[in-house]
Structures are given as structure tokens and as C-alpha cells.
Symmetry: D3
């Protein structure tokens, strides 16, 4: 596996450098092993590849989480996509497409999550 | 709603101009109303927006279908993403990420579908 | 696609005439395009068919939403089924059947949503 | 729980009297306990209620199975709905509605299952 | 089906003798039929078998509910597994494994539910 | 992360020493990165913990895969559970319980997969 630093650098790219410590503290108290898997495997390996540009990667994550109805993590990745250059309208286009593949209630719920995530994001940035 | 031609033009962009007639014949015999919804609503409206570039849109569709385990339609959109400029390695990066959000069996099944889809694609193009 | 009025008339039949404006205002601020898709496609096309009687259609929607765990929209359609003539006991029979196909937790959650939806419904009607 | 005969009578109503023995033999060799649960609980209890008319009940089952992507059992209940008086067009209306709640691929797959189920049904009846 | 007492005895084994009355009162007011199915079928039949030891059975239930995202019932079975001898670390091992099969967000949500369930459990015992 | 050997040793424990090479060759040609993630992360980390006994772990995997409808991987883990000491009747008990949480069609499909997996297993061992 990659060096530990790779995970932290990648995490900063996707979650924002100022959010890494807070995320890690939360995950560490939730479960030290899950925390380690997220740093070393999710960010240290899967997200560390540079063949897919980060904005596209974050939009694909938004697409997946909206289809799976995972609202908590969707909010995090709506802000990530925004941070990496996706416009609100691009994120909306992805979420409208969710209606086609996972149904209208999933698209509706995801758009509501997106609105709250971007409001919080603007307030704190 | 948009003019009927919009749906057919958009369908050609994503599925390939030479595949539109075959797809429509299949859908028409499956259900004339579903066929009409796909031409007029899915391609005539949802996919017709030009704010998201087509390659990113197709990769987001790949991400969604892999998470939902819809192998038939996933094969179609792996070829679509490829047609719109996504490299095999970019598609693989999206499908590896599926392991993180929908689990390893979904990623595994999607990669197997991708391999078959790209083999067929190369043989017929 | 059908004339725009078809969607609004159908929406009034399923959601109640007095709820159409409120629903549209909510959807409009959530996403203008999703709002338009729901009026023109969901109600203007899919729900507009008259070959399936409205009560049966609403009960099938209740069945689908309960299996998918979409509680927000389930509450809306429990009231819709009730408005279109389904008795509370008929709705309960559909939700008990959810235990067979989607498992007991889905049936349990859906029955809790039904209770809250019918309480609110009686208070406001 | 109800008397054992209740389950067999209800099973005959939904699956067709001539199919009960074949279904039971299959389930018995699959798992004797699951077989018993299906006769005594699913048909002996859940389906035995007479407050919901059998045609509506079978259409709700079709709606649920299509949303859950359970093609094998969906084929059985498409034939059941047909046997209990649902027209092909009514079944199609339910399955088109699946596109709204569970996405187009689920509706598409369900319509393909419906076609095969009704073809087999006509050949053997 | 088994005698009614079997269900109540089994329910006491998995939910704790002091929780049976409260659970039944809640289920009874939610839906008398669902209540009866849970006592007579779920606990009276499925959970009543003694070929699988109760601790393993409860851990398998934890595994299933975490994959299905059913947080309410997951909390109940985290406490059940704990009551039947599973250590917190054993439950965590099962939930970390959820990341592999149903994705990291499902594992994350389940671990958060577990923490709350065990806190409540310790306070009341 | 753990040493590479840990993953291979753990893989041998769960899949059978004689199946490791075949599995790795298959995964390697499917996707070299997914292969590496499975050896180093899934078996090298998640399955490597020794706080949960291997038989219980394999039965929990069976429970998860049956709920998620992942038949291919379910077959592999039915054989793994069997190899680690679970009797056919114990596996059946877990799969009957799937009916309660994920519905009867999921339990039914899983039992059919189990039968095929154990037949193949006996033939080759």
C-alpha cells in the first residue's frame, strides 16, 4: 500500500485542508480501525489515482451516494465537488439524472441534501 | 417539453448514431410508452442539458448503474463513455470507487460487465 | 408529450386540489427542472393514463415507496390512497405484505409513516 | 395461526390450482422450513385476508417485486395478476410507474420479465 | 406453527425478558397483525430453532440490518448480541466487514448506531 | 497496513489454500488494482482480525451477501463457511432469517445458490 502521507494529502484535496483534522477526530472516536481504513485505503489508494481528474471523481461520488440514499456522506461530497470546481448547476444536472436511474424520490432527497450542504458551505467559507 | 428531434439527437450523441434505430425498435416492442418516455423525457430533457460535458455525464451514469447493479444498462453506458472520450483506465477508476460506496461485489460485477462491453465494442467498431 | 394542463389536473386528482400550489412552490424552490419533470412527465404522462383506476394506482405507489424505504413520499401517497377511497385497513394490508417482499423492518417503518400521515390528514381535513 | 388448509386454498387462488403441487414440490426440496413458512405464514396469513381484493393485491405484489428487481418471483405474480383479472395494459401501467420510483432500468427489466411471463402463460393455458 | 408460548420465550431470549412487554405494546398499537406475525412467525418459528447458537444468530442479524441500513432495528440487535455474550469488539468486527460488502457509508452509519445503542444499554442496565 | 503475507494467509483460511491461486489469477485479469485491494485490504486487514472466530465471520458474510442479492460471492462464502465448520443446517438457519429482514425472494434465491454451491463443493472435495 502507499505511504501514510498519501492518504492525508488526498483527503485534504477532496475534503479541504481545514476539514481533515475534524474528520479524523470524528472517525477516530467512531472506530479506530475504520478511521485507519479510510485514511490508508479509501484516500491512500482509491482516491489517490491521478488518471481521473478530481472534479469528475467528486461528481461520480455525488452520483453514487445519491443513488444509495446516503445523505450524510452526500453532503460532504457536494461540498467536495464544489471545492474542486463543479458549479451548482453541474451538481444539479447530476442529481436530476438520478431521477432516471434510481427514481424521483432519490433525486428529490439528494437535491434537498445539496441545498443544505451548499448553504452551510457558503456560511463557513 | 423540448421538440421530439432533441431526444433523437441527444440519443445519437450518447448511444452512437448507428445504434439509435436498433435501440428504438427494441424499446418500441418492449413497451411503446416506455419507448416514448425514453426518447422524449430521458434523452429529450434530462440528457439534453449542455451544462455538464457529455463525457462526465456518461461517467456519472456508469457510476450510478454500477451502484444499482443494473448490468444490462451499464454495458451500454460503458460503451457510451468510451465513445465520448473516456479511456478504459478512467472507467476503471470510477468502478474501483464503487467498491468504497456500494461494496466490493458491486465493483467486481461492474468490472466484469465493463470487460465484456469493451470487447463487444472493439469487435463491432 | 401531453398538454401542460394534463399534469396539473392529474396532480390535483392524486394530491388533492388544495395541495397542488404548496407542492409546486416547494418543488420549484428545490429545483425548477425537477419541478417541471414532475408536472409534465410524472403527472402529465405516467399518472395521466386512465386504464388503471386511481385508487389501485395509489396503492401500488404505496407498495413501491414502502419497499424502497422512501418515507417522505410514502406519507404523501398514504394520504393520496385515502383520498381516492382506500380504507385504512386496505392500506395496512398492502403494508403487511411489504414484510413478505422487503422484510419486516420495511413494513414496520412504513406502518409508522402511515400512522403519522393519517393523523396529520385527519387533523387538516 | 390459521388452519393449514387456509394457506393451500389461498395459494391456489393466487398461483392457480394446477400450479400448487409443482410449487410445493420445488419449495420442499429447496428448504422444508421455507416451504412451511410460505404455506402457513405467507399464504396462510398475509395473503389470506379478504379486505383487499385479490386483483389489487396481486398488482401491489407486481409493483413491489419490480422495484426490488426480483425477476423470478415477478414472473409468477404477473401471471397471478393476469389470472385474477388484470389486463396486460393494467400491468404495463403499474410497471411504467416503476420508472418513476425505482428508475428506468428497473421498469425496463420488469417489462421484459412481464413479456416472457405472459408468453409462457398463453402457451400453457 | 409452534405454540404461542414459544414466540414469547424466544423473544425474551433475544430482546431481554424486561423488554418483551414494552416491545409488544408498541407493536400492538402499530399494527395488531404485524405484532402477531412477529410473535408467532419471527420469534415463534424463525428465531426458535436451536441449531444456530443465539450469539451467532444475533451477530448475523446485526450484519443483515447494517447492510440494509435499518438503523432502528439495528440498535435493538446490537443490544441483543451484547446481551447474548458478544463483546463490543466482536460487534465492531462485523460492522467493519460491512464496509467490504455494502460500502463504507453503511459501515459508518452502523457504527454510529452501535455506539448510541451501547450507551443507552449501559445506562439502563 | 499489514505485511502482504497476512492477506494471502487469511485468504487461504477463508477460501481454501488450493483456491487462492485460481482466485488471484481471475481477479488479476479482471483488474490489477481491485486484485491488490482484495489481497491487501479485504484479506490483509478486514478479515485478518482474530477477535471474531472464522466460522462466525463467514456466516456473517453469508448473511450480508444474501441480503444484498450478490449470488456469485454468496456461493464462495457458503463454501467458506462450510470449510470453516458450519453445518449445512446452520447455513440454512441464517438464510431462513434473511426472509425476515430482506424478504422471502432474497431468502429463496440464497437457498438456491447455497444448494448449487454445496453440490459443487462436494463434487470437488
Amino acid at each position: 500500500m502507499n505511504e501514510p502521507e498519501v492518504g492525508l494529502t488526498t483527503m485534504a484535496r477532496f475534503l479541504g485542508a481545514t476539514n481533515v483534522d475534524g474528520s479524523r477526530t470524528y472517525l477516530e472516536q467512531l472506530d479506530p480501525e475504520l478511521h485507519r481504513y479510510i485514511v490508508e485505503f479509501v484516500y491512500g489508494e482509491v482516491y489517490a489515482g491521478d488518471l481521473l481528474d478530481p472534479k469528475t471523481r467528486a461528481l461520480c461520488t455525488v452520483a453514487m451516494l445519491a443513488c444509495l440514499g446516503q445523505q450524510l456522506q452526500l453532503g460532504v461530497y457536494v461540498r467536495s465537488a464544489s471545492r474542486l470546481g463543479a458549479s451548482e448547476e453541474e451538481i444539479r444536472e447530476v442529481l436530476r439524472q438520478v431521477a432516471v436511474y434510481a427514481g424521483f424520490p432519490s433525486a428529490w432527497n439528494a437535491l434537498a441534501t445539496m441545498q443544505r450542504a451548499l448553504e452551510d458551505f457558503e456560511e463557513t467559507s
